[in-house]
């Protein structure tokens, strides 16, 4: 059934921003599952051990794969070797950027900051601007016109998702921004969420990025080979496949414009290797509801709140199937969302301030599914 809804403007500088504020969806109070304070305090406890261990495994494995890839250079074996290097560069790069950005991965603040800066560069995300973009994503998760981190709109733009397999949409946008920052300017979107006090820092970080990238370029020219760039810079493009596969499971296919993370965020069970790469961000509903809980405690947090949440997707493959099916349906009917039943032990869904009827009305005109 075709939707009668008009195509919405997802930019955060457009009319939907004001509309979200008028509807009480901006900086609003979100639903949280009931967990005793004492237990929350245990779950929120910070530790250095797990993150130091995981960081050593990550960089150690990168060095080993880097050496193997070097030895295969000039043969066909270089393709799988660099693909493995790129995936191990970009995927934990993304999740370490994320967790260290929250400041919860390590107990010691400077360790979070060092890994945050390194990982931000590795995934080509300007450290300070993305800190603020991500803060907004948590304030207004998937609120149209407010959240700058919505991967694709409804109806979905397949071109963007497919280009992101090789970071070819976000990467060039970010490079343009880095050039602007080097020149001491922000783009229009960034002016929405980066406070004036953070702008000088943004510009200096971009100048450091630019120096490193120019160094890589010079090394390529000197060696008459792209090999140096295969280690730094290019992996954020050719290693992006797992980043996007994990990323699209977080929110796509679920509700927009609601104030309950159980409605707009997906938790997916993953195997230990994926969980290492993703730093447990597959427990995404838990993370959004309680961003204070470090990655290593998210499985325990999941146990504490699963009685109040829809069932987790049983695997990455199942989650991807659900997302891709929903996106295909949203192409025809942008109002389509995956409706997930709550267990009997759960409190009811909280759609948002004075908008339950509206969301239900939208759902009733759509071909909704129960997963």
């Amino acid at each position: 059934m075709a939707s009668s809804r008009l195509k919405r403007d997802y930019s955060i500088t457009g009319p939907e921003n004001k509309r979200a504020q008028e509807r009480g969806l901006a900086a609003a109070e979100w639903y949280t599952s009931p967990i005793p304070r004492q237990r929350m305090k245990e779950l929120m406890k910070r530790r250095n051990g797990p993150a130091i261990r995981d960081t050593m495994i990550w960089f150690g494995s990168l060095i080993i794969l880097g050496i193997i890839a070097y030895q295969t250079w000039g043969t066909w074996w270089a393709l799988p070797a660099f693909l493995a290097y790129g995936i191990l560069y970009a995927t934990p790069g993304d999740s370490r950027w994320h967790e260290c950005g929250h400041g919860t991965a390590f107990k010691t603040p400077w360790m979070n900051e060092v890994v945050y800066q390194i990982a931000s560069f590795m995934v080509l995300r300007s450290a300070t601007p993305w800190r603020w973009s991500h803060a907004r994503h948590h304030t207004d998760t998937i609120i149209v016109g407010r959240d700058p981190e919505i991967i694709t709109e409804r109806p979905p733009v397949w071109k963007i998702i497919l280009m992101q397999i090789f970071h070819l949409y976000g990467g060039p946008v970010e490079i343009k921004r880095i050039i602007l920052h080097v020149l001491g300017r922000l783009d229009q979107q960034e002016q929405e969420y980066i406070p004036a006090s953070e702008r000088q820092k943004t510009f200096w970080e971009a100048r450091i990025y630019a120096l490193i990238l120019l160094g890589v370029l010079a090394a390529c020219m000197y060696s008459q080979s792209i090999l140096p760039a295969m280690y730094i810079f290019l992996p954020s493009f050719y290693g992006g496949i797992v980043v996007i596969l994990f990323g699209i499971t977080q929110h796509l296919g679920l509700h927009e414009d609601v104030l309950d993370h159980r409605l707009n965020t997906r938790t997916v069970y993953m195997n230990p290797i994926f969980r290492f790469l993703y730093w447990n961000m597959n427990y995404h509903t838990e993370h959004h509801m309680f961003p204070m809980v470090p990655y290593h405690a998210l499985p325990q947090l999941h146990q504490e709140m699963k009685h109040d949440c829809p069932a987790a997707s049983p695997s990455l493959a199942a989650a991807l199937k659900e997302v891709i099916t929903a996106l295909i349906k949203q192409k025809e009917n942008p109002a389509y969302v995956v409706e997930r039943p709550l267990p009997d032990t759960a409190r009811p869904y909280f759609f948002g301030i004075n908008q339950e009827a509206e969301v239900h009305a939208a759902a009733s005109t759509s071909d909704t599914a129960v997963s």
């Binding site: 900086a27 304070r37 929350m40 305090k41 929120m44 910070r46 929250h102 400041g103 919860t104 603040p109 800190r131 603020w132 803060a135 948590h138 304030t139 406070p195 006090s197 953070e198 309680f290 961003p291 204070m292």
Partner: protein, 111 residues
């Protein structure tokens, strides 16, 4: 000059070591802390970044971490220590007498 008064907030034992509780008085909200060295402090109850109750946050030493975006503040001084929290929290004098925590506030001011 604005008049200041001592207001009884809670029993001292109501707050665990390294913890924070919320205290509402008239139309104002405060956060009252007991740090690991057994000192009591009080600040505004809401984060200065967005309007989120600090009482559901985490006390680590002399630091309170906000539950929403992990912004941090120094509890004794109120100074913002980690972005996205940039603005300091208002702090209030605290005294403990006969097992009760009192905070001193200016009458009529808004929190």
């Amino acid at each position: 000059m604005t008049a200041k008064s001592w207001i009884e907030a809670c029993a001292a034992e109501e707050i665990d070591v390294e913890d924070v509780i919320r205290f509402d008085f008239e139309d104002r909200t405060f956060a009252i802390y007991r740090t690991e060295d057994n000192m009591y402090y009080a600040t505004d109850g809401f984060c200065t970044h967005e309007r989120v109750h600090l009482a559901t946050g985490l006390v680590m030493g002399n630091i309170i971490e906000c539950p929403k975006h992990n912004g941090r503040f120094n509890i004794p001084t109120g100074a913002a220590k980690r972005r996205p929290a940039c603005e300091a929290l208002q702090t209030y004098p605290v005294k403990v007498e006969e097992g009760k925590v009192f905070i001193q506030i200016e009458e009529g001011s808004q929190t």
